[in-house]
Symmetry: C2
């Protein structure tokens, strides 16, 4: 199976404009990423960015509506990588319960890594959620899609119960995923994230399996 | 059964001092509660409080270490009421699964009510969690105790499975309770809280029941 890339999984993020394929766009995103990581998203203006890259502010506005649009593109890149990993797990040829359990652990590990080793990116993702950026909603929807895929396959294979509504049940599963990646929850309880992920997934999987 | 009161359920909150029983203490808490609700916790100083009540700042410090100690007492009162309600449900003579389902709905309803009708109190509870006040930890521990009580009874009655670790399983259940009352999660998704609570509790209860 072809490994999906961030581009195949994530739709283009909100607030971009101008020609779709353009080196300048990628260059702006990359420079902004480095700049935000160093100085923080909130403290950076589009003028700061333009100066750092050596472009005019007007030129940046050719590609992005606003600073938020640049932030959404960066979040999209990062969440795209997480989603790639989840997509790979969700489509593996393994029992559905193993795939779901691995999805919890994968999200928990990636969140922990980002929190400890890439704090500025963690902060942007936090802003994206708190400000209800489109990218945060898209990501949540994409994760729900993957859960629906795995649970539907588990039901078809006779592994999972089929009495409850597929959609309601998967919605509830998606909620429990939040517990291992929501930036604010992570900040509150740093210890034992992977252990918590395992406890939660064990309970949820017992809820999914056929009696 | 004697209905437990906030006093019987909640331990005294952190940072209080002076004689335990004292009308002045209750009077300070009540006045501070009204004042915080009107002006907000962050914008109020102990000096503002003292002035509003007609006491000296030094007199307030006879009973409370700090503004936070007053805040913890107010949170304690509010969370004590929620805990009273949960305790009543947890100790009712009904099947364990019905009790747990009602606990989810009760928490969701109370959180929603507070969010829409008592926003300043919601804000103090948010600060208590974010700043890791002792009262927030005590509350989380007290909710876990109630869950342990109900699940242990459900196991003893042959209603719930007994293969998994009681403590790990109840920990996971307590995590899912967060989804319906965490102040930040509430702010992000106001719609359909009770419906979400029902979906989550249905999944969790299937995970608890005996196969």
């Amino acid at each position: 199976m072809k490994k999906p890339t961030a581009e195949t999984v994530m739709p283009p993020t909100a607030g971009q404009r101008g020609p779709a394929e353009h080196d300048r766009r990628a260059q702006i995103i990359e420079a902004a990423d480095a700049y935000f990581r160093h100085y923080g998203y909130n403290k950076t203006t589009v003028a700061d960015l333009a100066k750092a890259i050596g472009l005019s502010t007007a030129y940046i506005y050719k590609f992005f509506d606003s600073k938020q649009a640049v932030g959404e593109a960066i979040c999209g890149k990062c969440l795209g990588i997480i989603l790639d990993e989840l997509t790979k797990i969700a489509h593996a040829k393994r029992p559905a319960d193993e795939r779901l359990a691995e999805m919890y652990i994968s999200i928990a590990r990636e969140s922990e890594r980002r929190f400890f080793h890439d704090r500025r990116l963690h902060d942007i993702i936090n802003i994206a959620r708190a400000s209800q950026w489109q990218i945060a909603k898209d990501h949540q929807a994409a994760v729900l899609e993957l859960i629906l895929h795995v649970v539907a396959e588990g039901r078809a294979a006779g592994e999972f119960e089929t009495d409850s509504s597929l959609f309601k049940t998967c919605n509830a599963v998606a909620e429990t995923f939040l517990l291992v990646w929501h930036p604010v929850l992570l900040e509150e309880r740093l210890d034992g994230l992977e252990e918590r992920a395992a406890e939660i997934s064990a309970l949820v999987l017992r809820g999914l399996r056929k009696k």
